[in-house]
Symmetry: C2
Subunit: 359 residues, 2 copies
């Protein structure tokens, strides 16, 4: 295929994407609509983006980039419905703070303030609420953010599940960093900041359905400091995303689609703890699709990949950071995995919800 | 009682309040914890304020006042769990936008941006979601705000109630207005921007339990424009609050307590529609405790009360605005109602939840 053929192909695909008006085919909401994969994407584009369309929302980034007066401000929101509420390594309170702090951090913002909205079910133990709120305070202190306003609603027994938490986050963008999928170029290195899937597998094990005992803990952690360490040594960072719902594979599929590039991963290079690999095999899911709550994916200019990984590894939260693949030109929109056995397979967008209510 | 006796009494009460460490006595969350009254107040102070305490959160205002760079920014959050989702005059989508817009407006901020977080129950009709989202867009357009980021979670059947919506709002404070309970002084006029209780009674009637037919509609509306009209003619506005959960009586009780003043209301002066009065009597509740979603209470320097009411009445949303009472010195912390029959009774803080899930 000549270069102009390839260019034409890319342009065609962009045009197709533009013309495509996504439509939710289901009449009713299913768990898959909350899984972060294909169904979520369609719901977001067909319902939310169609209704609310505006230039700030349109990129569908984790955080919205606003200009208020002379300040560049990043804003994000997330609801947390994880079950169980308490699990090894954390609880819904830690997640609610770290998740929102991380959405700000990977957008290049310094997290400053959080809002906290609680939907409590009648009968929920006040002691559990205090435990969750104490975790939130600890996590907020660790991330250097303040909870500045909040709201509490109570619903009748059977109309909730103990406690749901929403946090919105506000951060300030102090650097001239311009990050986003549209800055990604073929040849760039794809980096993950640590072993993947710990959080999702911990939640599945905590539910007890598998009957496996393990020392595994959620990786829930605030990433602002690790991100700052990376940005300091590698101004060639193109984009960052924390790999939550849908895992690393979902982040990379969204990237491949948005940037009209391919991503080629080396299976051997992807850090996965043996316990995670084992449990994932039993569950019949690929760790690449399992949520992390303290890991991010960064795409970095190839020439700076070495120093980027070095900087990440020098930080306690990035000790196992690794280059896991490269951005390519074609086939645009696809994520490919080179397996340990020398084969290549497509890592498609997640369909269905193998791990409901993981965050 | 001499002036110095009175002053001593006020100082004592302030000291008592300072020393009092509120404690949640219940072991489990009840509907009253979400009603906006006494139980909510205790929960907020004993659990949330204790854990998150910081100077921005401490006033427990509807919106937090932040400084980001050189900009003064107001931030607020609210979850909406109203049932039914659709009711005469609006739906959960209208409420979710107007409620947050109004929290910003009454804090003196110009509403700019919203976030939107959805918690959907498996099986919820996609058509209903589209209807809600369309309402949100209409309400956002009417209020001149943009939805800039969002989140969707799905919970299993029986773990939610169709659709819960959280919105956080960001506004900019462009004027030198300094508003808040601590600016309120004895002698100030208490104004309400229109007839009270329409929203709460509409919701109760929409549930069908009373078997009453009525043309009543929710008053859900964005108040930013009405607030701007007021501030333009009355720089002597001391504080404003939208009278949602717990109604006008709850707003005034919080004011009386925070400012260590009394509030004396004239029953005859309070605008209440006959249908609202009738239904409230059947339900055994006082309209003063019934939620509005498009009315606010303003405390205004006495000398400007006339022009304030005039400006409100000139606006379609304030046609029935009225002075309903005065701020006094003693008994500090209490709201008193002078009844039509010449008696006086205490309008105490709401206990229990006569109207669960009204917003």
């Amino acid at each position: 295929m000549t270069t102009s053929d390839r260019e034409r192909q890319v342009l065609d695909r962009i045009e197709q994407t533009r013309r495509r008006r996504p439509k939710v085919r289901e009449e009713r909401i299913t768990l898959a609509h909350g899984a972060g994969g294909k169904a979520t994407q369609t719901l977001v584009e067909a319902v939310f983006l169609e209704a609310f369309r505006n230039p700030v929302l349109e990129p569908l980034d984790d955080a919205a980039a606003l200009e208020i007066g002379l300040s560049r401000v990043a804003v994000t929101t997330d609801s947390f419905v994880v079950t169980p509420l308490f699990f090894p390594g954390g609880d819904i309170g830690h997640l609610a703070v770290n998740g929102t702090v991380n959405d700000l951090a990977v957008s290049g913002a310094r997290p400053l303030y959080l809002t906290a909205g609680f939907i409590l079910e009648e009968g929920f133990p006040v002691a559990d609420l205090m435990r969750i709120v104490t975790s939130m305070r600890e996590a907020a202190d660790a991330a250097g953010v303040h909870v500045v306003t909040g709201d509490t609603k109570v619903v009748q027994r059977g109309k909730g599940d103990g406690c749901y938490v929403n946090t919105s986050g506000i951060g300030v963008v102090e650097h001239a960093w311009r990050l986003g999928a549209h800055h990604v170029r073929p040849g760039d290195a794809v980096i993950v900041s640590g072993p993947i899937g710990d959080h999702g597998i911990t939640i599945m094990l905590a539910r007890g359905d598998l009957g496996i005992e393990s020392d595994l803990e959620s990786d829930t952690a605030p990433l602002h400091d690790l991100v700052a360490a990376l940005l300091e040594v590698a101004p060639g960072v193109r984009m960052m995303r924390d790999a939550t719902r849908g895992g690393v594979a979902t982040v990379l599929n969204e990237l491949a689609r948005a940037a009209e590039v391919s991503v080629v991963l080396e299976e051997d290079a992807i850090p996965v703890r043996p316990e995670v690999r084992g449990a994932a095999e039993l569950l019949g899911i690929d760790p690449l699709y399992v949520a992390c709550e303290g890991r991010f994916v960064a795409v970095v200019e190839e020439a700076q990949a070495g120093q980027a990984v070095e900087a990440l590894r020098a930080h306690p939260l990035g000790a196992q950071a690794a280059v896991i693949g490269r951005v390519g030109e074609a086939p645009a929109g696809l994520v490919l995995l080179k397996t340990a056995f020398g084969g290549t397979r497509i890592c498609d967008v997640l369909v269905g919800d193998p791990l409901p209510r993981i965050c």
